[in-house]
């Protein structure tokens, strides 16, 4: 019989198939759809086709907006939100609205077109994480912004339009509803139990081991108890840190190691599936707290959201997280 599982943070329900779950081979995409090829505006030598860089890693002393970089961050050429202007919140009868202020940036993770994030060398992977940190800290100075969302779309089915590896950042004048729900859920749990819900998850998953995929001294990767999607993976710090930007600099290497390892395992097990990952971290007005614990959530795009999910907010997951963790754990 299927099992209904409740996410302990936001109270979201998931229907988990408890019969033999779908194995990784069930999800292999018959014909890989390649993101459009040909001229790539993110490649070296095409710096003039992007807006000027706001951050870059250039270990060879090359000049900004020229080749020679190993990572670049540029504003989105056609952004969803506009950086210029003051925030103007208004009411329209009973409705609320504001002008579309925000920052939309693209992190070009490598100069090498076609090399996925999972295959970057460790230093380059760590550079990506540092770029996230530096951009968040810079945008935090802007008083209009409440939250910076970092996300990656890998593969056409996950929303990537170019196969040049990149992630994106959107700075928002409001804290997203999902983040608010996580903050409130975590705070409620803390008020009731006097413990961080994520710290409890870390503790229990390390003891239980059925959903533990891999760990190192500073981080662990798990298939969450109420996974919304087959092979959903969370990467969490072992110690309590409420914000991504507050972790000690020396553990970025450790994060790069486990993150790259997890992406490689997913890539091998599911033959390079499309996926999305998002950084979940405390909003700017509450960076340091005892109840929220930053983490990355990686969700392979293996199932479609349809009427039931939209109407109910429930998810249906055909692979129990215990089985997903076993598959991923066995990948060397």
């Amino acid at each position: 019989m299927p099992e209904l599982r409740k996410d302990p943070i936001v109270g979201r329900w998931v229907i988990i198939s408890t019969e033999r779950g779908k194995r990784p081979t069930s999800f292999k995409i018959a014909e890989r759809v390649l993101a459009s090829s040909g001229f790539c505006p993110l490649c070296p030598e095409n710096e003039d086709k992007t807006p000027p860089e706001v951050y870059a890693v250039r270990r060879n002393g090359s000049k900004p907006n020229t080749p020679g970089w190993s990572l670049r961050v540029v504003s989105n050429k056609f952004p969803a939100l506009i950086i210029e202007g003051s925030l103007n919140k208004q009411g329209e009868g009973m409705y609320d609205k504001m002008n579309g202020i925000g920052a939309h940036e693209v992190i070009i993770e490598t100069p090498s077109h076609g090399t996925p994030l999972s295959q970057l060398d460790l230093q380059s992977f760590e550079d990506v994480l540092w770029a996230y940190r530096e951009r968040i800290l810079d945008l935090k100075k802007d008083e209009r912004f409440r939250y910076v969302l970092i996300f990656k779309n890998h593969g056409v089915e996950a929303g990537a339009s170019l196969d040049h590896s990149h992630s994106q950042l959107i700075a928002l004048p409001i804290t997203p509803k999902l983040v608010m729900e996580e903050m409130e859920g975590s705070k409620n749990y803390y008020n009731y139990k006097d413990r961080c819900v994520f710290c409890d998850i870390v503790h229990q998953e390390r003891e239980d081991k059925r959903r533990l995929i891999v760990e190192n001294n500073d981080f662990l990767a798990i298939a969450p108890y109420a996974s919304r999607s087959p092979f959903e993976v969370w990467i969490l710090p072992q110690k309590h840190y409420s914000s991504f930007v507050n972790i000690p600099p020396e553990i970025y290497r450790s994060l790069a190691e486990i993150f790259r390892d997890v992406l490689s395992r997913i890539e091998v097990a599911l033959e390079d599936p499309p996926y999305n990952f998002t950084l979940h971290t405390s909003p700017f007005n509450n960076l340091i707290n005892d109840y929220y614990h930053w983490h990355f959530e990686i969700i392979p795009t293996l199932s479609k959201i349809a009427g039931f999910e939209i109407g109910s907010g429930f998810y249906i997951n055909s692979t129990p997280p215990e089985e997903a963790a076993t598959f991923l754990k066995e990948i060397k």
């Binding site: 459009s36 040909g38 001229f39 050429k77 056609f78 969803a80 339009s161």
Partner: protein, 117 residues
Amino acid sequence: MKKILVADDEEGIRILYREELEEEGYEVKVAANGKEALELLDSFVPDLVILDIKMPDISGIEVLKQIRVKFRNLPVILSSAYPEYQQDLSTWASDAYIVKSSNLENLKSTIKKILAG
């Protein structure tokens, strides 16, 4: 006289753009689809191209990529009724992205700005 190539599968748009841009003093050639636009570019090198994105044979984005291989710096404006295509980073190979409107003032000022630059 500056030359502009307009590629759009909607005849009404081709007529409107041609009339309005000729009034502005440009020489305008039109193509009804992506293939025709690429063929025209073999014999006619414009100062600027306006490309519709959603065309039945080759999409405007694919045409843009092929243009970039041959003409790295030829100014291209993508013009679409669908603002969501802006999220496709392939559009960055263009010089501007215009959401179609019956009022062509934005298009005209974008053309002027690009050609002056």
